[in-house]
Symmetry: C2
């Protein structure tokens, strides 16, 4: 009996914990950064605002668990995702001892399936007007935002917010929403175009202005050359 335990499990003496995966899902809408929140469907704290989450299963890793949560609530695949951290202080969840590992994700909000919102009682909430969230979820969002800002300044992840093409005015609006700072139009465009990592399309977006703004696309190959030449992305 003991021998069997030793073969299947070397650490059988130690305590075990529930592991939750909570996702800070960012999207860009109405010139503002939003995150997807839900009304918690279960006790304790049922009905209060909460991040999207779930428990990790035996037969999956942390990444898989996070991807599962993301797919469940967005039906999008290949979502950009990054771990924020682990939250495991005593009593952070009054329901039980739970260690939560958080990921932030960037989703393309242009073609979001609105029927999902009803199904899960989910809403896109402006990050500038966040309500009180359960447990330590507000702290998680703060940490995620800080990490997002750092990553977006040093890696080309800002393009993950768009389905494919985007205009420079929209890109700048997004930048300003992420950093909660106004940016100078000319300096912003200069910085972007100086990296030479975008392709300008013929097509214009005529929806948000009369003149229309040209669409651009992030060009992964150009970005690679850019890196090979010893440069580093910076926004």
């Amino acid at each position: 009996m003991l021998k069997f335990d030793m073969l299947t499990n070397f650490y059988s003496h130690s305590a075990k914990f529930l592991i939750a995966v909570d996702c800070i899902i960012f999207g860009f809408k109405d010139k503002e950064l939003h995150i997807l929140l839900t009304r918690r469907p279960l006790e304790p704290n049922k009905g209060e605002w909460s991040l999207m989450g779930g428990f990790m299963d035996e037969e999956e890793g942390l990444q898989n668990a996070a991807e599962k949560v993301l797919y469940r609530y967005t039906r999008q695949d290949g979502i950009y995702m990054e771990q924020v951290g682990a939250y495991g202080e005593m009593g952070r969840d009054p329901g039980d001892r739970v260690v939560s590992v958080t990921y932030y994700a960037l989703v393309k909000l242009e073609d979001f399936d609105t029927s999902l919102a009803k199904e899960f009682d989910a809403q896109w909430v402006n990050v500038r007007e966040l309500p009180n969230l359960i447990f330590d979820h507000n702290k998680m969002v703060d940490d995620a935002l800080q990490l997002l800002r750092y990553k977006a300044s040093s890696q080309p992840i800002i393009f993950e917010f768009f389905e494919e093409k985007f205009t420079l005015p929209a890109l700048q609006d997004l930048w300003e929403a992420i950093y909660q700072m106004p940016a100078d139009k000319r300096n912003f465009r200069k910085k972007v175009s100086s990296m030479d990592i975008l392709d300008k399309l013929e097509e214009k977006d005529k929806l948000s202005s009369k003149r229309g703004a040209f669409y651009y696309v992030f060009n992964k190959e150009k970005y690679k050359s850019f890196l090979r030449a010893g440069n580093r992305f910076s926004l």
Copy 2:
């Protein structure tokens, strides 16, 4: 029975996991950055190189667990520590399903109790000459180093490597060990002194040179004024 479960534990259906806390303990010695490693005392992979770690108990949080590990292996208190991340892919630990949460720590290696080394079969290993470590511990060290570099460039944590006082040549050696880059002596000293966050002592360190180098101390009050004036630490 069911009712009782619901009161004490709302999530009783979900899987539970062992949670390990592994620490990347950094120290500065012989002009090089070192980390504290040990020969793993238990199966599986007994005898191989490993980070310092332990399992989290029921009645402690992640932070407490990490502090416990640090105190156990260094006997130092108030160690600077920061979470690196959670590692929880399937099969990362062949012994059992374990999710590991890692912290890096900066310890004062000047007055390190060498008897501890024997007690725990621990050694300070140069980060430039790391052996293969068990499981995903090499990846953990890489991630910790990256985070350390980022933090040390934007916050005054580099001083945590010293007991109290330090010389500018030693500080520069440490900086070079962290970033694995040579630094210009005059530019380095200019940057440090331009922040005006150090106190120069009368005393000199006469051990590492004939002329002797003045000791300096990090002045927390000066640093606060520095921040209040709208500046940001940068090295």
